[in-house]
Symmetry: C2
Subunit: 331 residues, 2 copies
């Protein structure tokens, strides 16, 4: 445990009077080293406090016992997934490394290339947009923007979730229900719209097409669109939003017009981000089981790394959370 600069393999070898090759074998538990030598080297390792260098060993061996979870940024959504993923690696040989790729386009490709193979044995990638086949390690995608494709994928049941939301509003007596979508081309958005339409169809309530619009998940645009809804000659009595942030924009639009939520307008969100329970009024929303999704994704990755059979697509159930942003329409 001496406090010299950085201890490397060569230092251990010199002190133990053996070659670096032998030390490396001891470190990695390789076969072909005498018992006495192992004991001797191990002693020196403990003594000097040697710890292998991940970069160097990964570079050579392409096997690191480290798995990654790649996110665009450490926001609340990702943080929940990371927690779940970390849980799945407990009691395994793997350590978890989490990397924020930044806001650059194609961050997933870049991060994967940067760390893949030499620093991680595999990765869970959160909400990837573009991932072609030029990836160097096994990858599991969580909620990919363009839906399950050739990658093993974990996502949540946006269809069922949106359907529950619509049913909730229908049961409260709403008939004029608007759908404020995200980005029409994204799989998750489409699923949510389909679920909404399905519930309406089954209830025999026609969908007013002027009440289905998209906001590109931009809060400002969302507020404008919601305002346009409310400016219609026959405004909606409820809005289903594609995510919680969009829902909050809708509430802001209502407030700006002097309407109160939920008496004048019911609003339902999607995701159940932490803010959802803290905003005023607390948001009725469709919760995605983020931690469970992260755990499932990592478990799937480990299965793949083990070479065992694995599912290609797991869709997690959503949970409908009733808070205070929904109520029966005014009589």
């Amino acid at each position: 445990m001496e406090a010299v600069g950085r201890v490397k393999l060569a230092d251990v070898a010199a002190r133990a009077g053996v070659s670096v090759a032998t030390v490396s074998k001891v470190v990695n538990g390789r076969y072909g080293v005498a018992k006495d030598t192992i004991a001797l080297v191990q002693g020196v390792i403990d003594d000097l406090g040697y710890v292998g260098n991940l970069g160097a060993s990964g570079l050579r061996s392409s096997r690191t016992n480290v798995v990654g979870i790649l996110v665009a940024d450490f926001e609340p959504y990702s943080a929940e997934l990371i927690k779940g993923a970390a849980k799945a690696t407990r009691n395994t040989q793997y350590d978890v490394l989490s990397y924020a790729g930044g806001e650059a386009p194609a961050w997933e490709r870049r991060s994967l290339a940067r760390l893949g193979g030499t620093l991680m044995d595999g990765a869970v990638v959160v909400t990837p947009t573009s991932l072609d086949s030029a990836i160097s390690v096994p990858v599991v995608a969580v909620d990919p923007h363009y839906g399950p494709n050739w990658l093993p994928t974990i996502d949540s049941d946006g269809f069922g979730g949106a359907k529950s939301a619509a049913n909730h509003l229908l049961e409260l007596g709403h008939r004029r229900i608007a759908f404020l979508g995200g980005r029409q081309e994204l799989d998750s958005s489409q699923l949510r719209e389909s679920g909404f339409r399905d519930a309406m169809r089954l209830a025999g309530v026609p969908v007013a097409e002027e009440l289905v619009r998209y906001s590109r998940y931009d809060p400002d645009i969302a507020q404008e669109v919601a305002d346009a809804f409310l400016a219609l000659p026959e405004p909606p009595t409820a809005i289903i939003a594609a995510n919680d942030v969009t829902a909050m924009s809708a509430m802001a639009a209502a407030r700006a017009r002097g309407l109160t939520v939920p008496q004048d307008l019911s609003v339902v969100g999607f995701d159940d981000i932490p803010d959802a329970s803290l905003c005023d009024p607390p948001l009725t929303t469709v919760r995605q089981p983020l931690q469970a999704m992260g755990e499932a994704a990592m478990t799937m990755l480990l299965t793949i790394l083990d070479g065992r059979d694995h599912e290609q697509h797991i869709r997690m159930d959503t949970e409908f959370i009733v808070r205070s942003s929904t109520a029966p329409p005014r009589a």
Copy 2:
């Protein structure tokens, strides 16, 4: 953007008809390459989608533009700090890598040796227990177990926090207040106890020494200790716990005895973990500004890496959050 295995420097060099040295210079913006060559090489890089290998370049250059935040595990507490730390790197040249060192003893030392120097230019280490001077890169400690030492340190004002908690209870009319500590040898625990004692002293209320006990932050032990408090001939009317988890154990102990919180027993926690607002009843607690602490730590690290002057110790204010687990004592 062709989808071949992994593109390396040599591939780019071959395609562009130059040496790997030249490509490396272009990638790193080094001086001494003709404008035309730069354009040519850059074109090939974009074309092939080349991304440098972090392990290899770090190995050679000991400069990676990646900073780390090292945690024992990705639990809620760490996740908040990570979020804050990530915020501080926005609009800088640095990417953030977060590593969970696992539950092994001396995980901070191991992780730091494993990643330091070759994979990270510096690191924020969360709640380190043992960190000697044999570290390879600049380090900032967040809430180290043994208090501010020779390392640049960020922590929170446990003294003032505990004092607010005690004052709140005193103002409600409590006189018999118990302190359910964590681990007596830890700096943070001691600060909290001192704050409690200071408030009592200023209020002229003597501290009953049989009402000061430690639980080693173990929920089961905490529940036993709390139960022992309540079994006393003259039980406390309020308990200040060393953290939220311990506080929840105290509430469980009260419930097991048929007491209701807060009517029969007031409980105050510490930390304000997410569960604190969700448990029943929602916990009155002392919030540590975790995200701000993470941000401050990372900002300090970046300052150090820049070679600019920096503080040696920043103590963040805590915030007292009144929820529903405290009330005046029964008359």
